[in-house]
């Protein structure tokens, strides 16, 4: 209607398609109502004017106006409240022409002069500023970036080709290529390195851009602190006005509803304003336990890339690079070849092995033989491939977990606790050994149907309860003594920006589950 009548000078006039307030509100509605609902009801609404007393919306038809007012008025009010600072009431005008002739021609002449305020901020800045290296370093560090994690010292290999390419593309053109870019892999394979690398490279190309690297845990702590100090506005400003948000350990969001909601809005705002978001997680978005569907779907919008374990050549290349970086000339190429033949774990494990071998080479006067190396890295060799877990060991470990005697597992007692322990043991035997169903069954003195049932039951419980799942994972890890990111890899973790959160959560969950 504002096209037809002279604008009211007291009100700010908005050009709807480019209006940031309205698009923020729509985004807000999207988050609370879902995309489909939002599209169905609001796609043809326009913001006519907005002040703290009154917001006027143009509805594409009376029925739309009535139904929206009846069903979504509170949503609208709170969305405007949030983005406008206050909203007394909402009034609906009806564009009577909309129903019959939808193609209300956009007058290009009008488009330019009715645009005001925030809209002009969309003009891209192409200023290139020369900034000294120190200044860049300072900015990078204050953005949470770690100095050593740069593109220059990332060793790409066949395992990370796609991730590497995507990282570079995003650093070159943030917000334009993959939104969001989502890395996932087992720990210690370079997700964090790439996140930081994107940050540094992006900073180098655009020194003035606001870059923010945080782990999800840090995000959570900031959020909690902001709530306590009643400083949510500052918190949101910090996160929602970033040009590039690098969020590590996204899986930490799992099961934290309030945090997810907050991040959801952050995500929407950034995506809406075409700011780049890069996420890293130890599993694909869809597998993060208790992550809201709307976040999962958003995380899947852009590009999800998995980083695999490095192959032999890549492992060697990584270690050679590390050797040079850490200045360990006593480690020869041959030694590195020996190491990577035996150690197949993640990069942190590799680094640990390198350190041990370097130590061995320094300490002894004799030349380092392959046997020495084998000995030095014996306990960090990839266990999954070198060790076969035994049935008895599984029974024992499970029994320990449930605080039971091993013979109870083999016995006939059928209390819930014992039955669960028995089922879990069967499940683990079935998944960790090569035994056939019948063999598993006979190891437990049951028939194979019982085993099938047990496996099914445990799988179901894992799906239903993240706590149970993590406790199962923990037992599994203990059994295969797999590359737990704890003990031997201290050195690789020297940068210390990553907490022990994952493990901590798992343990806590375990206590709840079994105590």
């Amino acid at each position: 209607m504002h096209r037809h009548s002279p604008p009211d000078p007291d009100k700010t006039l908005y050009d709807p398609p480019h209006n940031p307030l309205w698009s923020n509100v729509v985004q807000e509605l999207r988050s609370s109502l879902g995309d489909k609902t939002c599209d169905f009801w609001f796609s043809d609404f326009q913001l006519v004017s907005a002040s703290s007393e009154e917001v006027v919306l143009m509805a594409p038809g009376t029925m739309y106006a009535i139904w929206v007012e009846e069903n979504f008025k509170n949503h609208l009010l709170s969305a405007f409240e949030k983005h406008l600072g206050g909203c007394g009431r909402i009034r609906f005008l009806v564009d009577e022409s909309a129903g019959s002739e939808k193609e209300v021609a956009e007058d290009p002449a009008e488009e330019t002069d009715s645009r005001e305020e925030g809209a002009t901020r969309l003009v891209p800045r192409v200023l290139v500023e020369r900034v000294s290296e120190e200044k860049l370093l300072e900015r990078g560090l204050s953005a949470g970036l770690v100095e050593i994690y740069r593109f220059e010292n990332f060793v790409p290999g066949e395992n990370s080709e796609l991730a590497w390419a995507a990282a570079r593309a995003v650093a070159d053109q943030p917000g334009k290529t993959y939104q969001p870019l989502f890395f996932h892999s087992a720990s210690g394979l370079g997700k964090t390195h790439l996140l930081h690398g994107i940050g540094w490279e992006s900073l180098r190309q655009r020194p003035k851009s606001k870059i923010l690297y945080v782990t999800a845990e840090q995000f959570a702590n900031d959020y909690i602190a902001a709530i306590q100090k009643n400083a949510l506005v500052a918190f949101r400003k910090r996160y929602r006005e970033a040009d590039l948000l690098l969020l590590d350990d996204v899986q930490f969001l799992g099961g934290k509803d309030g945090l997810q909601r907050e991040f959801f809005h952050t995500f929407n705002r950034l995506a809406d304003t075409r700011k780049q978001i890069v996420l890293a997680s130890d599993c694909p978005a869809s597998e993060i336990a208790e992550l809201e569907e709307r976040l999962v779907s958003r995380f899947q919008w852009g590009l999800g890339v998995e980083i695999h374990r490095p192959g032999l050549e890549t492992r060697a290349a990584i270690l050679r690079r590390k050797r040079d970086d850490w200045n360990l000339p006593q480690v020869t190429d041959e030694m590195i070849d020996r190491i990577v033949e035996r150690v197949r774990g993640n990069v942190r494990v590799l680094e640990g092995a390198l350190i041990r071998v370097a130590m061995a080479a320094t300490m002894s006067d004799e030349p380092v033989t392959p046997e020495h190396i084998a000995e030095a890295v014996a306990d960090i060799c990839d266990p999954e491939e070198t060790r076969q877990v035994g049935v008895e060991e599984i029974k024992r470990t499970v029994a320990e977990h449930y605080d039971l005697e091993v013979h109870v597992i083999d016995g006939r007692k059928r209390t819930a606790r014992v039955a669960e322990a028995r089922q879990l043991a069967m499940f683990l035997v079935r998944t960790l050994t090569d035994l056939s169903l019948v063999e598993v069954a006979s190891a437990f003195g049951k028939d194979h149907g019982t085993v099938i049932y047990a496996v099914k039951k445990i799988k179901k419980r894992c799906e239903d309860s993240a706590a149970f799942k993590s406790s199962v994972e923990l037992i599994k890890r203990r059994l295969v003594r797999c590359a737990s990111p704890a003990e031997p890899t201290r050195r690789g973790r020297a940068t210390g920006h990553r907490g022990n959160s994952r493990l901590g959560v798992g343990r806590r969950a375990l206590e709840v589950e079994f105590d």
Binding site: S32, L33, K36, T37, G61, T62, I66, E69, N71, D257
Partner: protein, 365 residues
Amino acid sequence: MKFQIEKEVFQDGLNQVQHVVSTRTTLPILSNVLIQADELGLELSTTDLDVTITKRIPAKVAKPGATTLPARRLAGIVRELPAADIDFEVNADNAATVRSGPSFFKILGLPASEFPAIGEFGEAKEFTIDQKLLRDALRKTSYAISTDETRYVLNGVNCLIGEGMLTLVATDGRRLAMVEQDLEFPAGNETGVIIPTKAVNELQRLLDVSGELKVAISDNQASFELNGSLLVTKLIEGNYPNFRQVIPSQANHRVTVEREVLLGAVRRVSLLVNEKTNSIKFAFDDNRLAISANSPEIGEAEESIDVRYDGPRLVVAFNPEFVMAPLRNLDQDEVFIDLIDESSPGVIKIDEPFLYVIMPMRVAG
């Protein structure tokens, strides 16, 4: 004026007209029923200035005349009278004496001349339609009429005639009920009017399951003539908004369910409806529908029923009253629920030209 009348007949007649009388009115005459006696019998009329109902009943009239008497009070007296016949006499001061067996009543009335006349009925379109058809159509739609007086165009049933179709629509902004009945009207009768709630209610009371009724529609009034009664109503002025805007064009999933089974289950579960959200949950899953309510302060209820559904699990929350309303007013054994997703409008259909759009409530979180 003097007449003798059967109690049953008088009672029925008064019952049909007395609902129009408003209980709290500033004009005392509007509380009264106009009684006109001529050689053919009695004519009883009530009005609230918007809706007027006139009912003709047989009586032995000894002396023609007219008066008005308090409608509710008269109806109450007649209902309680002990004998089968009533003798009625009204003097010049509009005081009526009622005798029936051993009972005697004297009731003070107001002169008939004060009773408001029905407004001039302009040029009208006239046609006849089947009573049952209109009755069913009104029954299937009228419960969705808005009671919000600020949206006066929605305070009635939108009645569209044309293109071989009689379309009735009612909505309150949260649900919408529509009947689209194939019906050939004489050419030139195309029209669209909004019949106000009160007229709809009264009309439903008058309509029978057989026979026809005569409808006349002018610019601002409509009249319905049937079974010896005449209902005249003002129409709601204004344009009914384009209701097709809110009808979802296509659904992804269809649930087939037995109407009474669903109604019963919803009714039971709704006993524990969450007072805050006023909603109950419908979880559709592989030929099962689990209906549940959960109120933190009260408790919870769940009922699971068989349905035909082979889509993915869908959980939708609805206001139970909004689900029950159409179910109560349909006759079909089976209803279909068409769904798009958790937050899009759901549509209840039957294998006749009817549809009911219902907005899901948002489940918290």
